[in-house]
């Protein structure tokens, strides 16, 4: 297959680029090694759209944070993923930190970030009564928001596909050669090991943690990407409203510190830690947990480990200069979007714009399509509807009347829709519908989801995975006492058997 642009990497950066490319008359493809988009760094991050005043002046990270911030309302409107501007607070505990707040405030004001305010203890007590009484001042930034980052990925990808972009999943790039008319990309189908080839005039390297390896394949390297791990801890819904805004400690030169994040769905999250790690190290640790909770408790003393319902770790893709590696490379036609650490999620839409400019500078013609469809169909979210809307929905389609996940109130209809929109795994369902994300962590709904994948796609129950590859959930019952294997004895519906 010949393309005009191949985007390597289906994280939020790659998906945002693909969606931007889909506005134009060209053939584009996204190559992603996982079984669904957004399952790497994009899934495991804080989900913050930064307010715009944090990033230092004169850096790409700083400038694109604010430019990207302003683009999220339109995206969320068209693509229906969860996004809301909850505002943030950066907290000072002493005079030195107050001086830092003033410096950040002025930086934001020069950049044009609106609504920044310094709050004294009284205002802070009134707005956020659960924050530490030792905070002497806080900088409030109303433009900060929270997003469901995986939802944003799925929707950006869906929009791109709807507008003609090809999505190659479970494809790992093994080699890239520069030819006379573009690039030859060797691709391995993960799982089977089969080899494929993709040809493309231009390549965008949005390969996250592995962007250095990908660039080196074609001689466009010269930078390294290291992984800095962050652990996050999700707390029970009971704490909804405990804090209403994203809460930061005063930043140090190297870190934004441990935050308290009211996620889009209202669940509190504490983290992230920051330690150098191997590129496949997604472990959570006792030390990380201790650090996250100690940091969070400094900001809000009422936060407790006992409320944890889940934890995860993500890896930041950090370049040598701790800066985005963005734009043309030393190989014509090979464009970089690498080193995408925080605030890369915030900056993603602006990064996409910058990548398209770089592609145009390298000779890609960008002719706008007249039939570009900016919007994707709005997914049904039963729990968010009014009673009247729920009633008419249920009358139209009884699948929305059957509850699959009780913690997050997700119906069978919503899970079915997610499958029809591309979910193939339990994680794919979870990150599209929230099924299994609540306090019981899938104890009730996992079986329902397995059955729905089985019924809708004809997938055997034993082929259902958590997130592709070898992440199976169940295997066949072993033959016991000379009986026939389970598959022959158990009906598809999974009826109960009274084995003593």
């Amino acid at each position: 297959m010949r393309y005009d642009v191949a985007v390597i990497g289906g994280g939020v950066i790659g998906c945002a680029i693909a969606r931007e490319l889909s506005r134009y008359r060209l053939r584009a493809v996204v190559i992603e090694r996982e079984c669904e988009v957004g399952l790497g760094t994009s899934k495991a991050n804080s989900g913050i759209i930064h307010a715009g005043h944090h990033g230092a002046e004169g850096t790409l990270k700083g400038e694109l944070e604010w430019r990207g911030n302003q683009m999220w309302d339109a995206l969320a409107h068209d693509l229906h993923f969860g996004f809301k501007r909850v505002g943030d607070l950066t907290c000072a505990f002493d005079e030195e930190q107050r001086a830092t707040l003033r410096r950040i405030l002025e930086q934001g004001q020069r950049r044009g970030v609106p609504g920044l305010e310094l709050w004294g203890p009284e205002r802070l007590r009134r707005e956020e009564p659960n924050l530490s009484h030792e905070i002497v001042e806080a900088l409030y930034g109303p433009t900060a928001g929270v997003v469901n980052p995986y939802e944003a990925c799925f929707m950006l990808a869906e929009s791109a596909v709807l507008n003609g972009v090809d999505l190659l999943l479970e494809r790992a790039v093994r080699g890239i050669r520069r030819g006379e008319h573009g690039f030859d990309i060797d691709v391995e189908v993960t799982g089977t090991g089969a080899q494929e080839h993709v040809r493309s005039r231009f390549v965008v390297n949005a390969a996250g943690l592995f962007a250095d390896d990908i660039a080196a394949m074609v001689g466009a390297g010269g930078f390294t990407i290291r992984a800095r791990k962050g652990e996050e801890y999700l707390l029970d819904k009971r704490l909804i409203g405990f804090v209403k805004r994203i809460v930061f400690p005063c930043p140090t030169p190297t870190s934004k510190g441990i935050l308290i994040i009211p996620t889009y769905d209202g669940t509190l999250m504490v983290g992230p830690t920051a330690v150098w790690a191997e590129k496949d190290d997604l472990t959570t640790t006792a030390a990380g947990s201790a650090e996250a909770f100690a940091g969070a408790r400094k900001l809000a003393p009422g936060i407790s480990e006992a409320d944890t319902i889940a934890e995860f770790a993500g890896l930041r893709a950090v370049s040598d200069a701790e800066e985005f590696v963005l734009g043309p490379s030393r190989v014509a036609g090979f464009v970089l979007a690498a080193g995408m650490q925080s605030p890369a999620l915030t900056a993603a839409p602006a990064v996409a714009t910058a990548v398209l400019e770089a592609l145009r500078d390298d000779g890609l013609e960008l002719v706008a399509k007249d039939d570009f469809e900016a919007r994707v169909p709005e997914p049904v979210r039963f729990a968010e509807l009014s009673y009247a809307e729920q009633r008419s929905l249920v009358a139209r389609d009884p699948a929305y009347a059957r509850l699959v996940c009780r913690c997050e109130i997700v119906t069978e209809g919503e899970v079915r829709d997610a499958i029809d929109r591309g979910a193939r795994t339990l994680d794919g369902l979870k990150f599209r519908t929230r099924v299994g994300m609540g306090r019981c962590q899938g104890g009730f709904c996992t079986w329902n989801c397995m059955e729905l994948l089985h019924r809708r796609l004809g997938m055997p129950l034993t082929a259902v995975t958590k997130r592709g590859g070898d992440s199976w959930i169940a295997c066949e019952r072993l033959p016991v006492h000379g009986q026939a294997p389970a598959a022959e004895r158990v009906s598809a519906g999974g009826s109960a058997e009274a084995t003593p």
Binding site: T283, I309, G494, A496
Partner: protein, 426 residues
């Protein structure tokens, strides 16, 4: 399986019970006995019976039915009793909300979305299992880490296996039962790892499910790391010191493809939270009176939503009481207010109900904090009983008879479990 569904939902019931497990079905029966006419039980599963339907092992019913039954047999008897008493059962349905004036928002595949009014409501939603996330086991997040109850559903209802080499964290009863169940299916069960110095499950399960099958039980030992990128490939376990801190120098790896987690149950109280019920910080269930009424008038609760039971038989007995209370409330019979408070004292975690009356006989359920043998159970200075042993995994039952309290005029009685022969320290 007999499970008649109501052809038509009524807009108003005398009593609506949420949950058709053993608690809900017994409550419905209790409500009918007191004269409540229209009684509806709502359940989210396709069939009533609750979690008993996946408990295909025997050991149920010795106290309540006087014979040993399997879980599904126990469930079926309960279902039949309810149906014989003209209780309506609505399966495949879910109560999304209950308002303080007892209006329930219900969704079901068969009847769509509707509001129902109830003269009295009984909450009988049972419990959910604590998960890996709740105890923050460090490590990777592969598939293959699951609660013992989910594994039980896979095997007994789905006809599938959760894995071929299994380690079990926690010695809760479901984990013990699953250890045996999986061995019977040809699965290698490598061991049960319990952080406490004593097992959490019933003694009979330790003997019948572990000892009889030579499955090692490692006390004062826990899982300190989970390994595996896509599927579990091993877990690291380590003994813990008296402060439960792992002694990492003595850690070892257990190669396995599955880790079952059996670390306790939590009352499933979404609706209790929505109703703003007063909750007990120890049980995490609603605070109830001696008729199992919660802090809201006409809202009753029973079974594992109130406190975690060891035997289903006690769930049935407690729930009959709740149902009778709900039926009486719905038909306008006022209950006498409780006049004696039971305060948990030495080695007693909680008492349910926490208050009783001096007029009737009450069954009070308790849990102890630590094992003790032999010992004495004391109810203030009005009653005492010698006990051979107490054990955190087994509930303690005390029948408080009116004659114990003859001449007692105080407002509260402390309940203590003390070593035999020792006086109760004040």
């Amino acid at each position: 399986m007999i499970a008649a569904k109501p052809a038509q939902l009524q807009p108003r019931y005398d009593v609506v019970v949420v949950g058709a497990g053993p608690a809900g079905l017994a409550a419905a029966l209790g409500a009918r006995e007191t004269g409540a006419e229209r009684v509806l039980v709502i359940d989210r599963e396709p069939e009533p019976g609750g979690i008993l339907q996946q408990c295909i092992h025997p050991g149920f019913g010795l106290h309540h039915f006087g014979e040993e039954l399997t879980g599904p047999e126990y469930a079926q008897r309960t279902i039949e009793q309810a149906l014989e008493h003209d209780v309506d059962v609505l399966s495949g349905a879910y109560v999304l909300d209950v308002s303080p004036d007892r209006r329930l928002k219900v969704t079901s595949r068969d009847h769509g979305l509707a509001y129902l009014d109830a003269g009295a409501v009984v909450l009988a939603m049972g419990a959910r299992e604590r998960t890996r996330g709740a105890i923050r086991i460090p490590g990777e997040r592969p598939s293959g880490v699951m609660t013992a109850g989910f594994a039980q559903k896979l095997v007994n209802l789905g006809g599938l296996l959760p894995g071929k080499r299994v380690a079990i964290l926690g010695s809760g009863d479901i984990g013990l039962i699953m250890a045996r169940r999986l061995v019977l299916e040809g699965v290698e069960v490598l061991g049960v790892f319990e952080i406490m110095p004593h097992a959490n499950g019933l003694n009979r399960n330790i003997v019948q499910c572990l000892h009889d099958y030579d499955i090692p039980l490692h006390l004062s030992t826990t899982v300190v790391h989970i390994h595996g990128r896509e599927r579990v490939d091993r877990v690291t376990v380590a003994p813990v010191d008296a402060a439960f801190k792992p002694r990492m120098a003595e850690a070892w790896d257990v190669p396995c493809d599955t880790l079952l987690v059996s670390i306790g149950l939590i009352p499933d109280n979404e609706l209790a939270h929505r109703l703003g019920l007063r909750l007990d910080p120890v049980t995490t269930g609603p605070v109830v009176t001696s008729t199992m009424e919660t802090s809201r008038d006409g809202v009753f609760a029973c079974g594992n939503v109130v406190h975690i039971h060891d035997l289903v038989d006690y769930v049935s007995q407690e729930s009959l009481l709740a149902g009778r209370g709900a039926g009486a409330f719905a038909t306008g019979a006022a209950a006498r207010p409780d006049n004696v408070r039971l305060t948990p004292g030495l080695n007693v975690r909680y008492c349910v109900p926490p208050t009783i009356t001096t007029e009737r006989e009450h069954t009070v359920y308790m849990r102890v904090t630590k094992p003790m043998a032999p010992c004495t159970l004391r109810l203030g200075d009005v009653y005492e009983r010698p006990l051979r042993y107490v054990f955190p995994g087994e509930m303690l039952t005390l029948k408080v008879r009116p004659r114990f309290l003859e001449g007692f005029h105080g407002g509260s009685l402390r309940v203590d479990v003390v070593p035999r022969g020792e006086a109760t320290p004040i």
